[in-house]
Protein backbone atom coordinates (compact mmCIF):
# COMPACT_ATOMS: atom_id res chain seq x y z
CA UNK A 1 0.00 0.00 0.00
CA UNK A 2 2.63 2.47 1.08
CA UNK A 3 4.72 1.37 -1.83
CA UNK A 4 2.03 2.27 -4.35
CA UNK A 5 1.57 5.59 -2.62
CA UNK A 6 5.17 6.55 -3.01
CA UNK A 7 5.04 5.29 -6.55
CA UNK A 8 2.16 7.60 -7.46
CA UNK A 9 3.67 10.60 -5.73
CA UNK A 10 6.93 9.92 -7.46
CA UNK A 11 5.08 9.68 -10.76
CA UNK A 12 3.55 13.10 -10.15
CA UNK A 13 6.90 14.82 -9.82
CA UNK A 14 8.30 13.17 -12.91
CA UNK A 15 8.82 15.68 -15.68
CA UNK A 16 6.19 15.13 -18.36
CA UNK A 17 7.55 14.22 -21.73
CA UNK A 18 7.78 16.92 -24.31
CA UNK A 19 4.76 16.51 -26.49
CA UNK A 20 5.36 16.07 -30.15
CA UNK A 21 5.10 19.71 -31.19
CA UNK A 22 4.11 19.32 -34.83
CA UNK A 23 1.58 16.52 -34.41
CA UNK A 24 0.14 18.32 -31.42
CA UNK A 25 -0.35 21.49 -33.44
CA UNK A 26 -1.90 19.56 -36.32
CA UNK A 27 -4.29 17.80 -33.96
CA UNK A 28 -5.50 21.06 -32.51
CA UNK A 29 -6.88 22.35 -35.79
CA UNK A 30 -8.54 19.10 -36.81
CA UNK A 31 -12.23 18.85 -36.07
CA UNK A 32 -13.26 16.54 -33.27
CA UNK A 33 -13.94 13.00 -34.41
CA UNK A 34 -17.71 13.04 -34.66
CA UNK A 35 -20.12 10.78 -36.58
CA UNK A 36 -20.70 13.62 -39.04
CA UNK A 37 -17.01 13.89 -39.82
CA UNK A 38 -16.65 10.15 -40.28
CA UNK A 39 -19.68 9.92 -42.57
CA UNK A 40 -18.49 12.92 -44.58
CA UNK A 41 -14.93 11.69 -44.93
CA UNK A 42 -16.13 8.21 -45.88
CA UNK A 43 -18.40 9.52 -48.63
CA UNK A 44 -15.80 11.88 -50.06
CA UNK A 45 -13.12 9.19 -49.73
CA UNK A 46 -15.22 6.67 -51.65
CA UNK A 47 -15.90 9.25 -54.35
CA UNK A 48 -12.21 10.02 -54.73
CA UNK A 49 -11.48 6.29 -54.89
CA UNK A 50 -14.22 5.87 -57.49
CA UNK A 51 -12.77 8.71 -59.55
CA UNK A 52 -9.30 7.17 -59.42
CA UNK A 53 -10.12 3.50 -59.88
CA UNK A 54 -12.87 3.48 -62.51
CA UNK A 55 -10.96 5.27 -65.29
CA UNK A 56 -8.06 2.82 -64.76
CA UNK A 57 -10.11 -0.32 -65.29
CA UNK A 58 -12.46 0.88 -68.00
CA UNK A 59 -11.98 1.69 -71.62
CA UNK A 60 -12.41 4.86 -73.60
CA UNK A 61 -15.59 6.67 -72.50
CA UNK A 62 -16.08 7.98 -76.05
CA UNK A 63 -16.08 4.55 -77.65
CA UNK A 64 -19.22 4.20 -79.75
CA UNK A 65 -21.19 0.94 -79.87
CA UNK A 66 -24.13 -0.14 -81.95
CA UNK A 67 -26.24 -0.87 -78.89
CA UNK A 68 -27.57 2.65 -78.22
CA UNK A 69 -29.73 3.33 -75.16
CA UNK A 70 -29.61 -0.15 -73.68
CA UNK A 71 -30.67 -0.63 -70.05
CA UNK A 72 -28.18 -1.73 -67.39
CA UNK A 73 -26.81 -5.23 -68.00
CA UNK A 74 -23.88 -7.41 -66.98
CA UNK A 75 -21.82 -5.97 -69.81
CA UNK A 76 -22.79 -2.33 -69.30
CA UNK A 77 -23.40 -1.88 -65.56
CA UNK A 78 -25.21 1.38 -66.01
CA UNK A 79 -26.43 0.87 -69.55
CA UNK A 80 -25.35 2.86 -72.57
CA UNK A 81 -25.97 6.30 -74.01
CA UNK A 82 -27.75 7.09 -77.25
CA UNK A 83 -24.61 6.43 -79.23
CA UNK A 84 -23.79 3.31 -77.23
CA UNK A 85 -21.13 4.72 -74.93
CA UNK A 86 -20.80 3.00 -71.53
CA UNK A 87 -22.45 5.19 -68.84
CA UNK A 88 -20.47 3.64 -65.98
CA UNK A 89 -17.19 4.49 -67.66
CA UNK A 90 -18.38 8.02 -68.36
CA UNK A 91 -19.45 8.35 -64.74
CA UNK A 92 -15.96 7.48 -63.53
CA UNK A 93 -14.35 10.08 -65.78
CA UNK A 94 -17.03 12.62 -64.88
CA UNK A 95 -16.60 12.26 -61.13
CA UNK A 96 -12.88 12.67 -61.68
CA UNK A 97 -13.42 15.79 -63.77
CA UNK A 98 -15.86 17.34 -61.31
CA UNK A 99 -13.68 16.61 -58.26
CA UNK A 100 -10.59 17.98 -59.99
CA UNK A 101 -12.40 21.20 -60.83
CA UNK A 102 -13.93 21.36 -57.35
CA UNK A 103 -10.68 20.99 -55.45
CA UNK A 104 -8.70 23.24 -57.82
CA UNK A 105 -11.27 25.99 -57.40
CA UNK A 106 -11.28 25.36 -53.65
CA UNK A 107 -7.53 25.92 -53.44
CA UNK A 108 -7.47 28.99 -55.72
CA UNK A 109 -10.55 30.61 -54.18
CA UNK A 110 -9.25 30.02 -50.64
CA UNK A 111 -5.88 31.50 -51.55
CA UNK A 112 -7.58 34.55 -53.06
CA UNK A 113 -9.86 35.02 -50.08
CA UNK A 114 -6.80 34.78 -47.82
CA UNK A 115 -5.02 37.49 -49.79
CA UNK A 116 -8.03 39.79 -49.93
CA UNK A 117 -9.47 38.94 -46.53
CA UNK A 118 -6.46 38.45 -44.25
CA UNK A 119 -3.47 40.23 -45.80
CA UNK A 120 -5.38 43.38 -46.75
CA UNK A 121 -7.04 43.62 -43.38
CA UNK A 122 -3.84 43.06 -41.45
CA UNK A 123 -1.88 45.69 -43.39
CA UNK A 124 -4.77 48.09 -42.90
CA UNK A 125 -5.05 51.64 -44.23
CA UNK A 126 -5.48 52.11 -47.95
CA UNK A 127 -4.89 48.43 -48.75
CA UNK A 128 -7.72 47.41 -46.47
CA UNK A 129 -10.01 49.97 -48.11
CA UNK A 130 -9.02 48.86 -51.60
CA UNK A 131 -9.27 45.13 -50.93
CA UNK A 132 -12.59 45.35 -49.17
CA UNK A 133 -13.94 47.54 -51.96
CA UNK A 134 -13.00 44.87 -54.51
CA UNK A 135 -14.48 42.18 -52.27
CA UNK A 136 -17.73 44.08 -51.90
CA UNK A 137 -18.01 44.65 -55.64
CA UNK A 138 -17.46 40.94 -56.33
CA UNK A 139 -19.99 40.15 -53.64
CA UNK A 140 -22.86 42.17 -55.08
CA UNK A 141 -22.38 40.90 -58.65
CA UNK A 142 -24.61 37.87 -59.01
CA UNK A 143 -22.29 34.88 -59.37
CA UNK A 144 -23.86 32.62 -61.96
CA UNK A 145 -24.68 35.28 -64.59
CA UNK A 146 -21.14 36.66 -64.29
CA UNK A 147 -19.73 33.17 -64.61
CA UNK A 148 -21.86 32.60 -67.71
CA UNK A 149 -20.73 35.86 -69.29
CA UNK A 150 -17.04 35.20 -68.60
CA UNK A 151 -17.34 31.57 -69.73
CA UNK A 152 -19.05 32.63 -72.96
CA UNK A 153 -16.32 35.19 -73.68
CA UNK A 154 -13.41 32.84 -72.96
CA UNK A 155 -11.66 31.74 -76.16
CA UNK A 156 -10.80 28.16 -75.18
CA UNK A 157 -13.09 25.83 -73.33
CA UNK A 158 -10.82 23.61 -71.28
CA UNK A 159 -10.85 22.54 -67.66
CA UNK A 160 -8.34 25.25 -66.72
CA UNK A 161 -10.58 27.92 -68.13
CA UNK A 162 -13.53 26.66 -66.09
CA UNK A 163 -11.45 26.58 -62.91
CA UNK A 164 -10.37 30.19 -63.43
CA UNK A 165 -13.86 31.40 -64.27
CA UNK A 166 -15.45 29.79 -61.23
CA UNK A 167 -12.61 30.87 -58.91
CA UNK A 168 -13.10 34.51 -59.87
CA UNK A 169 -16.66 34.44 -58.60
CA UNK A 170 -16.21 32.08 -55.64
CA UNK A 171 -13.77 33.85 -53.31
CA UNK A 172 -15.58 37.02 -52.28
CA UNK A 173 -17.90 35.53 -49.67
CA UNK A 174 -15.17 33.80 -47.73
CA UNK A 175 -12.91 36.84 -48.01
CA UNK A 176 -15.62 38.73 -46.18
CA UNK A 177 -15.78 36.12 -43.42
CA UNK A 178 -11.99 36.07 -43.07
CA UNK A 179 -11.88 39.86 -42.98
CA UNK A 180 -14.27 39.94 -40.05
CA UNK A 181 -12.24 37.32 -38.20
CA UNK A 182 -8.94 39.05 -38.91
CA UNK A 183 -10.30 42.42 -37.79
CA UNK A 184 -11.14 40.97 -34.41
CA UNK A 185 -7.83 39.14 -34.20
CA UNK A 186 -5.61 42.03 -35.33
CA UNK A 187 -6.22 44.01 -32.17
CA UNK A 188 -5.99 41.11 -29.74
CA UNK A 189 -3.42 41.37 -27.03
CA UNK A 190 -1.45 38.33 -28.12
CA UNK A 191 -0.99 39.82 -31.59
CA UNK A 192 0.14 43.12 -30.05
CA UNK A 193 2.46 41.21 -27.72
CA UNK A 194 4.02 39.44 -30.70
CA UNK A 195 4.51 42.81 -32.39
CA UNK A 196 6.12 44.28 -29.29
CA UNK A 197 8.40 41.26 -29.07
CA UNK A 198 9.64 42.30 -32.53
CA UNK A 199 7.98 39.73 -34.78
CA UNK A 200 7.93 40.63 -38.47
CA UNK A 201 4.47 41.15 -40.02
CA UNK A 202 4.56 37.98 -42.13
CA UNK A 203 5.37 35.96 -39.05
CA UNK A 204 2.60 37.56 -37.06
CA UNK A 205 0.19 36.61 -39.83
CA UNK A 206 1.40 33.05 -40.42
CA UNK A 207 2.31 32.00 -36.90
CA UNK A 208 0.08 34.01 -34.59
CA UNK A 209 -3.06 34.69 -36.63
CA UNK A 210 -3.30 31.92 -39.24
CA UNK A 211 -3.51 28.92 -36.86
CA UNK A 212 -6.47 30.50 -35.13
CA UNK A 213 -8.14 31.06 -38.52
CA UNK A 214 -7.55 27.51 -39.80
CA UNK A 215 -10.97 26.09 -38.85
CA UNK A 216 -12.67 29.00 -40.62
CA UNK A 217 -10.42 28.66 -43.65
CA UNK A 218 -11.06 24.91 -43.73
CA UNK A 219 -14.79 25.38 -43.68
CA UNK A 220 -14.59 28.06 -46.38
CA UNK A 221 -12.47 25.71 -48.48
CA UNK A 222 -14.98 22.87 -48.26
CA UNK A 223 -17.78 25.29 -49.06
CA UNK A 224 -15.87 26.57 -52.09
CA UNK A 225 -15.45 22.98 -53.33
CA UNK A 226 -19.21 22.35 -53.11
CA UNK A 227 -19.90 25.68 -54.80
CA UNK A 228 -17.46 24.91 -57.60
CA UNK A 229 -18.87 21.45 -58.33
CA UNK A 230 -22.39 22.86 -58.46
CA UNK A 231 -21.55 25.88 -60.64
CA UNK A 232 -19.44 23.74 -62.96
CA UNK A 233 -22.43 21.43 -63.37
CA UNK A 234 -24.74 24.35 -64.07
CA UNK A 235 -22.33 25.86 -66.60
CA UNK A 236 -21.77 22.56 -68.36
CA UNK A 237 -25.45 21.74 -68.34
CA UNK A 238 -26.28 24.90 -70.26
CA UNK A 239 -23.49 24.10 -72.70
CA UNK A 240 -20.80 26.52 -71.53
CA UNK A 241 -18.61 23.86 -69.99
CA UNK A 242 -15.55 22.12 -71.21
CA UNK A 243 -16.14 20.28 -74.46
CA UNK A 244 -12.98 18.23 -74.40
CA UNK A 245 -13.28 16.57 -71.00
CA UNK A 246 -15.94 14.91 -68.91
CA UNK A 247 -17.69 16.23 -65.85
CA UNK A 248 -20.98 15.47 -64.15
CA UNK A 249 -22.43 18.59 -65.76
CA UNK A 250 -21.42 17.63 -69.29
CA UNK A 251 -22.91 14.18 -68.75
CA UNK A 252 -26.22 15.77 -67.82
CA UNK A 253 -25.86 18.09 -70.83
CA UNK A 254 -25.46 15.14 -73.21
CA UNK A 255 -28.28 13.27 -71.49
CA UNK A 256 -30.55 16.26 -71.96
CA UNK A 257 -29.50 16.64 -75.61
CA UNK A 258 -30.04 12.94 -76.20
CA UNK A 259 -33.53 13.37 -74.72
CA UNK A 260 -32.85 10.75 -72.06
CA UNK A 261 -35.74 12.07 -70.00
CA UNK A 262 -38.28 11.68 -72.82
CA UNK A 263 -37.20 8.18 -73.74
CA UNK A 264 -37.12 7.07 -70.11
CA UNK A 265 -33.39 6.32 -70.11
CA UNK A 266 -33.08 6.87 -66.33
CA UNK A 267 -29.69 5.14 -66.18
CA UNK A 268 -28.24 7.97 -68.20
CA UNK A 269 -29.31 11.07 -66.23
CA UNK A 270 -29.92 9.63 -62.75
CA UNK A 271 -26.33 8.51 -61.85
CA UNK A 272 -24.62 11.87 -62.54
CA UNK A 273 -27.40 13.71 -60.71
CA UNK A 274 -27.11 11.41 -57.74
CA UNK A 275 -23.33 11.72 -57.74
CA UNK A 276 -23.61 15.52 -57.47
CA UNK A 277 -26.02 15.12 -54.56
CA UNK A 278 -23.85 12.55 -52.76
CA UNK A 279 -20.61 14.52 -53.15
CA UNK A 280 -22.41 17.64 -51.96
CA UNK A 281 -23.80 15.79 -48.94
CA UNK A 282 -20.42 14.30 -48.03
CA UNK A 283 -18.66 17.65 -48.19
CA UNK A 284 -21.47 19.27 -46.20
CA UNK A 285 -21.05 16.68 -43.46
CA UNK A 286 -17.36 17.57 -43.24
CA UNK A 287 -18.31 21.23 -43.08
CA UNK A 288 -20.78 20.63 -40.25
CA UNK A 289 -18.09 18.96 -38.17
CA UNK A 290 -15.69 21.88 -38.79
CA UNK A 291 -18.48 24.24 -37.74
CA UNK A 292 -18.56 22.49 -34.40
CA UNK A 293 -14.94 23.48 -33.87
CA UNK A 294 -15.68 27.11 -34.68
CA UNK A 295 -18.92 27.27 -32.72
CA UNK A 296 -18.78 24.91 -29.75
CA UNK A 297 -22.43 25.58 -28.98
CA UNK A 298 -23.31 23.30 -31.89
CA UNK A 299 -21.59 20.46 -30.10
CA UNK A 300 -23.98 18.14 -28.37
CA UNK A 301 -21.57 16.63 -25.91
CA UNK A 302 -18.08 17.87 -25.34
CA UNK A 303 -15.40 15.51 -24.24
CA UNK A 304 -13.21 16.58 -21.34
CA UNK A 305 -10.21 16.76 -23.61
CA UNK A 306 -11.57 19.65 -25.60
CA UNK A 307 -12.98 21.79 -22.82
CA UNK A 308 -10.24 24.35 -23.17
CA UNK A 309 -11.10 24.98 -26.80
CA UNK A 310 -14.40 26.52 -25.79
CA UNK A 311 -12.67 29.65 -24.67
CA UNK A 312 -11.55 30.47 -28.16
Amino acid sequence: MSETNTATSAAKTVVPKRRHPIWDSVKRVLPERSPKLIVGLTIVGLMVLFAIVVPIFTKDPNKINDIGLSAPSAQHWLGTTQSGQDVFTQLGYSVRGSLTIGFSVGIIATAMSFIFGVLGTYIGGIWDDLFSLITNIMLVIPGLPLTIVIAALMPSKGTMMLVIVISITAWAGSARVLRAQTLSMRGRDYVLAAKIAGERPWRVITVEILPNLLPVIGSQFVFAVIMAILSESSLSFIGLGSTSSYSLGTMLFYAQNGSALNTGAWWWFLPPGLMIAIIGAGLSFINFSIDEVINPRLRKTSSKKNKGKKKR
Binding site: Y190, A193, G198, E208
Partner: protein, 273 residues
Protein backbone atom coordinates in the same frame (compact mmCIF):
# COMPACT_ATOMS: atom_id res chain seq x y z
CA UNK B 1 21.70 53.41 -16.18
CA UNK B 2 19.27 54.16 -18.87
CA UNK B 3 16.53 56.71 -19.02
CA UNK B 4 13.33 56.84 -21.01
CA UNK B 5 12.29 60.41 -21.66
CA UNK B 6 9.02 61.76 -22.97
CA UNK B 7 9.25 65.36 -24.11
CA UNK B 8 5.98 67.21 -24.77
CA UNK B 9 4.45 64.16 -26.34
CA UNK B 10 1.07 64.65 -27.95
CA UNK B 11 -1.26 62.21 -29.63
CA UNK B 12 -4.38 63.03 -31.60
CA UNK B 13 -6.72 60.48 -33.09
CA UNK B 14 -8.73 61.45 -36.12
CA UNK B 15 -12.13 59.86 -36.33
CA UNK B 16 -13.75 59.84 -39.73
CA UNK B 17 -17.48 59.74 -39.98
CA UNK B 18 -18.37 60.20 -43.62
CA UNK B 19 -16.88 63.55 -44.64
CA UNK B 20 -16.78 64.88 -41.11
CA UNK B 21 -13.60 64.34 -39.16
CA UNK B 22 -13.36 64.84 -35.46
CA UNK B 23 -10.10 64.96 -33.58
CA UNK B 24 -9.69 63.39 -30.19
CA UNK B 25 -6.81 64.65 -28.10
CA UNK B 26 -5.87 61.44 -26.35
CA UNK B 27 -2.66 62.78 -24.88
CA UNK B 28 -2.20 66.54 -24.85
CA UNK B 29 1.20 67.18 -23.36
CA UNK B 30 3.13 64.51 -21.55
CA UNK B 31 6.62 65.13 -20.23
CA UNK B 32 8.36 62.82 -17.82
CA UNK B 33 11.46 60.73 -17.25
CA UNK B 34 11.57 57.09 -16.33
CA UNK B 35 15.00 56.05 -15.03
CA UNK B 36 15.81 52.37 -14.80
CA UNK B 37 15.86 52.23 -11.03
CA UNK B 38 12.37 53.56 -10.47
CA UNK B 39 8.77 52.56 -10.64
CA UNK B 40 6.38 55.26 -11.71
CA UNK B 41 2.66 54.76 -11.31
CA UNK B 42 0.34 56.28 -13.87
CA UNK B 43 -3.15 56.70 -12.48
CA UNK B 44 -6.27 58.23 -13.90
CA UNK B 45 -9.78 57.41 -14.93
CA UNK B 46 -10.70 55.40 -18.01
CA UNK B 47 -10.06 57.32 -21.20
CA UNK B 48 -7.57 59.70 -19.62
CA UNK B 49 -4.80 58.63 -22.01
CA UNK B 50 -2.84 56.18 -19.84
CA UNK B 51 -2.92 53.36 -22.35
CA UNK B 52 -2.14 55.70 -25.25
CA UNK B 53 1.09 56.64 -23.49
CA UNK B 54 1.87 52.94 -23.06
CA UNK B 55 1.16 52.29 -26.73
CA UNK B 56 3.39 55.14 -27.83
CA UNK B 57 6.30 53.96 -25.68
CA UNK B 58 5.94 50.44 -27.11
CA UNK B 59 5.77 51.88 -30.67
CA UNK B 60 2.28 50.61 -31.35
CA UNK B 61 1.34 54.24 -32.00
CA UNK B 62 3.43 57.15 -33.23
CA UNK B 63 3.17 60.45 -31.37
CA UNK B 64 1.58 63.33 -33.28
CA UNK B 65 4.26 65.63 -31.94
CA UNK B 66 6.94 65.60 -29.29
CA UNK B 67 9.75 63.11 -28.86
CA UNK B 68 10.33 59.91 -26.98
CA UNK B 69 13.97 59.09 -26.34
CA UNK B 70 15.74 56.17 -24.73
CA UNK B 71 19.24 57.04 -23.48
CA UNK B 72 19.14 60.12 -25.67
CA UNK B 73 18.37 58.15 -28.83
CA UNK B 74 15.00 58.97 -30.41
CA UNK B 75 12.68 55.97 -30.59
CA UNK B 76 12.41 54.77 -34.21
CA UNK B 77 8.98 54.64 -35.79
CA UNK B 78 9.49 52.20 -38.63
CA UNK B 79 11.89 49.98 -40.51
CA UNK B 80 14.75 47.80 -39.38
CA UNK B 81 15.67 50.09 -36.49
CA UNK B 82 12.22 49.66 -35.00
CA UNK B 83 12.69 45.87 -34.80
CA UNK B 84 16.07 46.39 -33.20
CA UNK B 85 14.57 48.80 -30.69
CA UNK B 86 11.63 46.59 -29.74
CA UNK B 87 13.43 44.48 -27.17
CA UNK B 88 14.20 47.55 -25.03
CA UNK B 89 10.62 48.17 -24.08
CA UNK B 90 8.31 45.34 -23.09
CA UNK B 91 4.77 45.27 -21.86
CA UNK B 92 2.59 43.16 -19.58
CA UNK B 93 -1.02 43.34 -20.66
CA UNK B 94 -4.09 43.69 -18.55
CA UNK B 95 -5.94 40.53 -19.51
CA UNK B 96 -3.88 37.34 -19.19
CA UNK B 97 -6.65 35.42 -20.93
CA UNK B 98 -6.23 37.50 -24.09
CA UNK B 99 -2.51 38.14 -24.12
CA UNK B 100 -1.41 34.54 -24.74
CA UNK B 101 -2.12 32.86 -28.06
CA UNK B 102 -4.40 29.87 -27.35
CA UNK B 103 -2.76 27.95 -30.17
CA UNK B 104 0.81 28.01 -28.89
CA UNK B 105 2.63 26.44 -25.96
CA UNK B 106 4.17 28.38 -23.09
CA UNK B 107 7.57 27.48 -24.55
CA UNK B 108 6.70 29.24 -27.80
CA UNK B 109 5.58 32.39 -26.00
CA UNK B 110 8.80 32.77 -24.05
CA UNK B 111 11.27 31.32 -26.56
CA UNK B 112 10.21 33.55 -29.49
CA UNK B 113 11.46 36.81 -27.91
CA UNK B 114 14.69 34.97 -27.03
CA UNK B 115 15.07 33.72 -30.59
CA UNK B 116 14.37 37.15 -32.06
CA UNK B 117 17.29 38.49 -30.06
CA UNK B 118 19.50 35.45 -30.73
CA UNK B 119 20.06 34.85 -27.04
CA UNK B 120 20.87 31.14 -27.43
CA UNK B 121 22.21 28.76 -30.04
CA UNK B 122 20.36 25.47 -29.80
CA UNK B 123 16.99 24.10 -28.84
CA UNK B 124 18.45 22.79 -25.56
CA UNK B 125 19.87 26.18 -24.69
CA UNK B 126 16.55 27.83 -25.40
CA UNK B 127 14.78 25.28 -23.23
CA UNK B 128 17.24 26.01 -20.45
CA UNK B 129 16.64 29.76 -20.75
CA UNK B 130 12.89 29.31 -20.77
CA UNK B 131 13.14 27.18 -17.62
CA UNK B 132 15.24 29.88 -15.97
CA UNK B 133 12.70 32.55 -16.86
CA UNK B 134 9.78 30.47 -15.62
CA UNK B 135 11.59 29.91 -12.36
CA UNK B 136 12.25 33.62 -12.06
CA UNK B 137 8.52 34.31 -12.20
CA UNK B 138 7.98 31.55 -9.64
CA UNK B 139 6.30 29.08 -11.95
CA UNK B 140 7.76 25.85 -10.61
CA UNK B 141 8.37 23.14 -11.55
CA UNK B 142 9.11 24.96 -14.78
CA UNK B 143 9.41 21.80 -16.87
CA UNK B 144 5.81 20.97 -15.99
CA UNK B 145 4.55 24.23 -17.47
CA UNK B 146 6.81 24.53 -20.47
CA UNK B 147 4.83 22.46 -22.96
CA UNK B 148 1.39 23.32 -21.72
CA UNK B 149 -0.99 25.60 -23.52
CA UNK B 150 -2.46 28.75 -21.98
CA UNK B 151 -5.91 27.25 -21.41
CA UNK B 152 -4.42 24.71 -19.02
CA UNK B 153 -3.19 27.50 -16.72
CA UNK B 154 -4.98 29.72 -14.22
CA UNK B 155 -5.19 33.49 -14.55
CA UNK B 156 -2.35 34.13 -12.12
CA UNK B 157 -0.13 31.56 -13.80
CA UNK B 158 -0.85 33.06 -17.20
CA UNK B 159 0.05 36.53 -15.98
CA UNK B 160 3.34 35.12 -14.71
CA UNK B 161 3.97 33.64 -18.15
CA UNK B 162 3.24 37.06 -19.64
CA UNK B 163 5.76 38.61 -17.26
CA UNK B 164 8.35 35.98 -18.19
CA UNK B 165 7.76 36.76 -21.86
CA UNK B 166 8.26 40.46 -21.21
CA UNK B 167 11.51 39.76 -19.35
CA UNK B 168 12.90 37.42 -22.01
CA UNK B 169 14.49 40.05 -24.29
CA UNK B 170 16.13 41.77 -21.28
CA UNK B 171 14.26 45.06 -21.58
CA UNK B 172 15.29 48.38 -20.10
CA UNK B 173 11.71 49.52 -19.59
CA UNK B 174 8.72 47.42 -18.55
CA UNK B 175 5.21 48.70 -18.88
CA UNK B 176 2.61 47.00 -16.74
CA UNK B 177 -0.84 47.98 -17.98
CA UNK B 178 -3.11 47.20 -15.05
CA UNK B 179 -1.37 43.86 -14.57
CA UNK B 180 -3.54 42.65 -11.72
CA UNK B 181 -6.98 44.09 -12.39
CA UNK B 182 -8.18 40.89 -14.09
CA UNK B 183 -6.78 38.62 -11.42
CA UNK B 184 -8.40 37.13 -8.39
CA UNK B 185 -7.91 39.41 -5.37
CA UNK B 186 -5.95 36.72 -3.52
CA UNK B 187 -3.36 36.56 -6.31
CA UNK B 188 -2.80 40.27 -6.83
CA UNK B 189 -0.28 40.83 -4.07
CA UNK B 190 1.85 37.91 -5.26
CA UNK B 191 2.06 39.22 -8.84
CA UNK B 192 2.74 42.79 -7.69
CA UNK B 193 5.48 41.66 -5.33
CA UNK B 194 7.01 39.68 -8.17
CA UNK B 195 6.99 42.72 -10.48
CA UNK B 196 8.49 44.91 -7.79
CA UNK B 197 11.22 42.37 -6.99
CA UNK B 198 12.11 42.01 -10.66
CA UNK B 199 12.22 45.78 -11.09
CA UNK B 200 14.73 46.08 -8.26
CA UNK B 201 16.84 43.06 -9.19
CA UNK B 202 17.12 43.77 -12.90
CA UNK B 203 17.16 47.57 -12.70
CA UNK B 204 14.29 47.90 -15.08
CA UNK B 205 12.37 51.14 -15.24
CA UNK B 206 8.74 50.26 -14.64
CA UNK B 207 5.67 52.19 -15.64
CA UNK B 208 2.82 50.84 -13.57
CA UNK B 209 -0.54 51.82 -15.03
CA UNK B 210 -3.39 51.40 -12.61
CA UNK B 211 -6.67 52.57 -11.17
CA UNK B 212 -5.71 51.52 -7.72
CA UNK B 213 -4.19 54.32 -5.64
CA UNK B 214 -3.35 52.06 -2.72
CA UNK B 215 -1.10 49.75 -4.75
CA UNK B 216 0.27 52.73 -6.66
CA UNK B 217 1.49 54.21 -3.42
CA UNK B 218 2.79 50.93 -2.10
CA UNK B 219 4.72 49.78 -5.14
CA UNK B 220 5.99 52.90 -6.84
CA UNK B 221 8.42 55.68 -6.14
CA UNK B 222 6.50 58.33 -8.02
CA UNK B 223 2.90 58.83 -8.98
CA UNK B 224 1.61 60.64 -12.05
CA UNK B 225 -2.05 61.55 -12.23
CA UNK B 226 -3.61 61.88 -15.68
CA UNK B 227 -6.81 63.67 -16.46
CA UNK B 228 -8.23 64.16 -19.97
CA UNK B 229 -4.88 63.71 -21.66
CA UNK B 230 -2.87 65.88 -19.31
CA UNK B 231 -0.53 64.88 -16.54
CA UNK B 232 -2.04 67.03 -13.83
CA UNK B 233 0.11 65.97 -10.92
CA UNK B 234 3.49 64.30 -10.64
CA UNK B 235 5.51 63.75 -7.50
CA UNK B 236 6.86 61.28 -4.97
CA UNK B 237 4.23 58.67 -4.12
CA UNK B 238 3.64 59.66 -0.53
CA UNK B 239 3.41 63.36 -1.33
CA UNK B 240 0.80 62.86 -3.99
CA UNK B 241 -1.34 60.63 -1.80
CA UNK B 242 -0.96 62.56 1.47
CA UNK B 243 -0.79 66.11 0.15
CA UNK B 244 -2.64 66.25 -3.16
CA UNK B 245 -2.27 69.61 -4.85
CA UNK B 246 -4.75 69.34 -7.68
CA UNK B 247 -8.50 69.24 -7.33
CA UNK B 248 -8.77 66.16 -9.51
CA UNK B 249 -6.31 64.19 -7.39
CA UNK B 250 -8.36 65.03 -4.31
CA UNK B 251 -11.53 63.80 -6.03
CA UNK B 252 -9.74 60.63 -7.07
CA UNK B 253 -8.53 60.03 -3.53
CA UNK B 254 -11.96 60.70 -2.07
CA UNK B 255 -13.47 58.19 -4.50
CA UNK B 256 -11.32 55.36 -3.14
CA UNK B 257 -13.09 53.61 -0.29
CA UNK B 258 -11.30 54.04 3.00
CA UNK B 259 -12.14 51.28 5.50
CA UNK B 260 -10.81 53.33 8.41
CA UNK B 261 -13.25 56.14 7.76
CA UNK B 262 -16.09 53.71 7.22
CA UNK B 263 -15.51 51.83 10.47
CA UNK B 264 -15.01 55.05 12.41
CA UNK B 265 -18.49 56.07 11.25
CA UNK B 266 -19.93 52.68 12.21
CA UNK B 267 -18.30 52.85 15.63
CA UNK B 268 -19.60 56.36 16.22
CA UNK B 269 -23.12 55.24 15.35
CA UNK B 270 -22.89 52.27 17.69
CA UNK B 271 -21.66 54.51 20.49
CA UNK B 272 -24.66 56.78 19.99
CA UNK B 273 -27.06 53.88 20.30
Amino acid sequence: MSVLKLDHVKKDFKLRDGLKTTTIHAVKDATFELPSDKTIALVGESGSGKSTIARMITCLETPTSGTITLDGEPVPTHGRKLYEYRHNVQMVFQDPFASLNPYHTIFHHIARPLMLNHLANSREEYEQKVIELLERVELTPATKFMYRRPHELSGGQRQRVAIARALAPQPKVLIADEPVSMLDVSLRLGVLNLLSRIQQEEHIGMLYITHDLATARHFSDEIMVMYHGDIVEHGPADDVILHPQQEYTKVLLAAAPDPEKHFAKVRAERARQ
